[in-house]
Amino acid sequence: MFLFLSVVLFAQSINTELVYLRLVNGQKDKMLIKDNLRNAELTADSLFFVHKAKVNDSVGGLAAKAVVQQKDDLLASYFFKELGMSYFYTKNYPMAMFTFLRQRYFYPNDTLNEIVSAYFVDAAAFSGIKKNIAEFLLRKSDPATLNKIPFEERKVMFLDKVIFLNLEPLNGELSKYVDFTRESNVKIPEFVSKWAFLTKINVPHSLMEGYMNYYKGALDSLNFKQKKIMYRKAARYYLKHNAWVESDKYIGRYCGLPLKINNRITCCWLKLRRGLHL
């Protein structure tokens, strides 16, 4: 009974947030919409975990559980749609795309397919993403297909598609969702771990697209320049955080490459920093 009530109360809070989002989106006051985005993200983040909790809920009977779950999923899908519209109205187009993808992958809804698709294509255009890529993502996130796939798998599919988008403003949010996925006890695929590593060591975003083959391939798929940048960035990152063992590994790999004189000086400087624990 307690779990059933907690699910009902949670539905109330999504409903409150949804109604509020509709009211402020209707007013089109950018400052008012922006002011609420932080609060809406708190609710959006919690929706990532709620689905799993409801699947394990065995109180209330199967029929009652199915009705509550369906209603909450409906509310959640409309919530994400309205949140995406909020980002769209405040001209934060990458986050609008991110939110629409969240809606399509986590709470697929046939009714919202047309309107979300239209705004998604516009947001993609304003973010510098080609139309064919946007249409590809929409095809891959078709609600009819996704409804048959378990929620845990959809989380990983979502991460895959957002990494594929390769938008720098989304790096922070994506890192957060990688952590959320780990927290919900889902095995992270290797390509997501590689992306998270490259983002952590601060590889310049302009070069990240070149690393796409490395995500789903081996280290040999990288060329000399890419390896050089990766090892140097990793060595600096671990030195900065006083992780001497890891920094030793990457300094060794960096200095083991056939480097030119200027890079040799960098190699000596890294070794000096390691020696002096700087």
């Binding site: 109330q12 409903n15 509020y20 002011d35």
Partner: protein
């Protein structure tokens, strides 16, 4: 008559000493241990903004610290801009002082048309006027615009949490008749 006037002035002064703005030591202050109601989504920044009010002492501080009101309203960009504008104003005055041709008093008291270096006099006078304009203008802008910004931010925060609270508790009339049920409440004050 004289005694009546002295008594009235004394009473007025005593009342003024206990006014909210000018008192040095607040005798009835209990906000240090009074715990307010807060929405769980409220951030520290929003809580701070709601608690802030602009008082007479802030007007005096703003004269000394450029951009003080904007910093208080958590608008550091504009605050630092005001600081830069006021420094530019003082820089202009410092330039006139270091040049040494004329004092500020001479610039504003003389006409200058009879002076041999009239153009120089005119330039320095313009710089002095602009400098004072920047200094006083930055103060007025800081105070007026800063207060407006703080009020606006507070309004947005109150609107957001007030409306959400009303939506949550169902006290907003959405066309459905509100039915009041009798209830029992127990309250214990520490």
């Amino acid at each position: 008559m004289k005694n009546i006037i002295i008594t009235l002035v004394a009473l007025f002064t005593v009342q003024l000493l206990s006014a909210q703005d000018l008192d040095i030591y607040q005798k009835r202050k209990n906000s240090n241990y009074q715990l307010p109601y807060m929405n769980k989504q409220m951030s520290l920044e929003e809580f701070q903004l709601l608690n802030r009010t602009l008082r007479l002492q802030d007007m005096i501080y703003a004269m000394v610290v450029p951009g003080y009101v904007h910093f208080k309203a958590k608008d550091p960009g504009v605050g630092w801009t005001m600081a830069g504008v006021r420094i530019a104003g003082f820089g202009g005055l410092a330039y006139i002082y270091l040049k040494g041709n004329y004092t500020i008093k001479e610039l504003f008291s003389k006409d200058g048309t009879d002076l041999p270096d009239y153009q120089e006099f005119k330039n320095q006078k313009n710089i002095a006027i602009a400098s004072f304009g920047l200094i006083f203008g930055s103060y007025l802008f800081d105070w007026i615009h800063g207060k407006h910004r703080l009020d606006k931010k507070q309004e947005y925060i109150r609107y957001k949490y007030g409306l959400k609270f009303n939506l949550q508790t169902g006290t907003l009339n959405n066309g459905v008749k509100n039915i009041v049920y009798p209830g029992l409440k127990v309250q214990y004050d520490f």
